[in-house]
Symmetry: C2
Subunit: 312 residues, 2 copies
């Protein structure tokens, strides 16, 4: 990277390289499908654009999206009221991924890392913040997988401050919830954080490094779980249950997910945003897993848990 | 009906008998599956309840819900701000149905008829209104079906006032739209109306009769289409397309449908509300039907059309 570049320029460059790295790793792991890339520009003049990458019909990944965008524009009334954004212009750049494996034994994963800036009349930065997170949505519970995912992320965060993992895990537990389903969690959580604002000049560098550490923990947190479960056998009933649970994923994303709804309502690229939806989904009236089944065991764990400290 | 009963009591009775009539007709037509009934009470004291009826795995209907509820409660702040409801207490009773056939040649249909009252401190009615409508969502376009559906409803409305069908059709065209998909309509429309307030004492009777005429037109508008298309052959590619389009149905219901969102966010019974979602659904990244195909023909008609006047 060019050491004299602005933080924004360096972040843009980092996000594109991160996308390349993640996509290469996923293609190598899948061994069958490759990512299709669509580049787009926003219609607003000088509004930036994105690089959407979606893989379909892989040996492991039935549908996987790893998208980046670097966008900017005028601050609108909707942004002022819904996002409490100040200033005249804004910039946002980030990577969002959602990976839906075909096998119900391999969990779905979601992650996102982003950076915002807003500018006053002079064009000077008046506010800036980082956000991000990663969370796991299994269809069958393997406690060692949940523990591995959380522990890997915790280790990355602990290097910066041991207070972060508990706080960001709590954010995640509170956010990825289907409130209309009696607060059933979407999955087994992870971490979620937003509005990490640099308080002093060198703080921005520390937060940039923090984002890199979090994003860097993603592949080590997820890929070993895929490797461990990819050969596990399953039948039609497990696939059925996966599609039922994918229905809950759709419900969360379309009813509650603030990023999805804000994107769709402010003219984001619909196909890029909705890459998050699983390929095949099932909605059954009042479906209840059998008491004592593996399916019921998963549901009973969809409330906040101490995954790191849990006995396997 | 008891002629001395209040309008509200008579409407409650009518809605239950309408549910019986529609369910019996659908069971007779399907010939294989029957409706499962779940009765529930709202947790709020004296809050009323509902009678949910869902049919699954029928010869014709893969998933069909015909629900009634008669509910009441205190007017909340959310109702005041989001629904502009005045008064201290409210009452709402209606029937909502969504029928998802298995065959992609048979269209999905949705209909709803409802009545609201609000009450002041003395318990006296301070406001009351009727609402309702019916709309059709085909997966393949048969112009004679669209014309039959619209014409049957128009005939029922024309008995009251010939100005109603054009106005209520326009409401429907404007409401059942996926704004995040470039204003693509959910289907080929129908009618939609709300806030029909009795202006004088005998007006309430006229509006009650209007609701009965609209609801009475439903089976004649829909069943002949089912009869005409139920034997039409189809294969995997037509089923695939149906599941893609069902994805748009899910998107509309979870992102835009005011009734669904208000119900879910105010503690309605989730399983009763989400009976509207199709059994199996597919979300493909950037799926585009082939130019000139039957699938593309459908999409090209998902903008307001003069179905009644259209050449078949």
């Amino acid at each position: 990277m060019n050491p004299t570049a602005s933080l924004r320029e360096r972040w843009d460059e980092y996000i594109l390289s991160l996308q390349d790295e993640i996509c290469s790793s996923l293609e190598a792991l899948d061994g069958q499908a490759t990512f299709r890339e669509d580049r787009y520009r926003r219609t607003e003049a000088n509004g930036g654009g994105g690089r959407t990458r979606v893989m379909s019909g892989g040996a492991i990944f039935e549908k996987a999206g790893v998208n980046t965008s670097s966008v900017q524009g005028e601050v609108t009334d909707a942004m002022r009221s819904q996002l409490q954004i100040q200033g005249n212009r804004w910039y946002a750049c980030g990577l969002s991924l959602v990976l839906h494996p075909f096998s119900p034994m391999v969990p779905t994963v979601h992650a996102n890392w982003r950076y915002f800036e807003t500018y006053g009349e002079s064009g000077k930065v008046v506010d800036s913040w980082f956000g991000g997170g990663a969370d796991l949505t299994p269809y069958y519970l393997f406690k060692e997988d949940a523990k591995h995912f959380h522990s890997t992320i915790k280790t990355a965060l602990d290097q910066f401050d041991e207070a972060l993992y508990p706080e960001y895990k709590k954010n995640c537990d509170e956010y990825f919830v289907n409130k209309h389903r009696g607060n059933e969690a979407r999955g087994i959580g992870g971490v979620f954080y937003d509005h990490l604002r640099p308080k002093e000049a060198d703080d921005a560098e520390r937060l940039f490094a923090f984002q890199q550490a979090c994003a860097g923990a993603f592949l080590p947190a997820y890929l070993p779980i895929v490797q461990r479960r990819r050969e596990t056998t399953f039948g039609d009933s497990e696939k059925f249950w996966q599609e039922i649970r994918r229905g809950r994923y759709v419900e969360f994303n379309l009813i509650h997910d603030r990023g999805t709804l804000f994107g769709l309502k402010t003219g984001g690229r619909t196909e890029s945003i909705l890459m998050s939806l699983p390929a095949t989904v099932r909605f059954e009236y009042d479906y209840q897993p059998l008491p004592g089944s593996k399916e019921a065991e998963l549901v009973s764990h969809l409330v906040p848990q101490d995954w790191v400290g849990m006995a396997e």
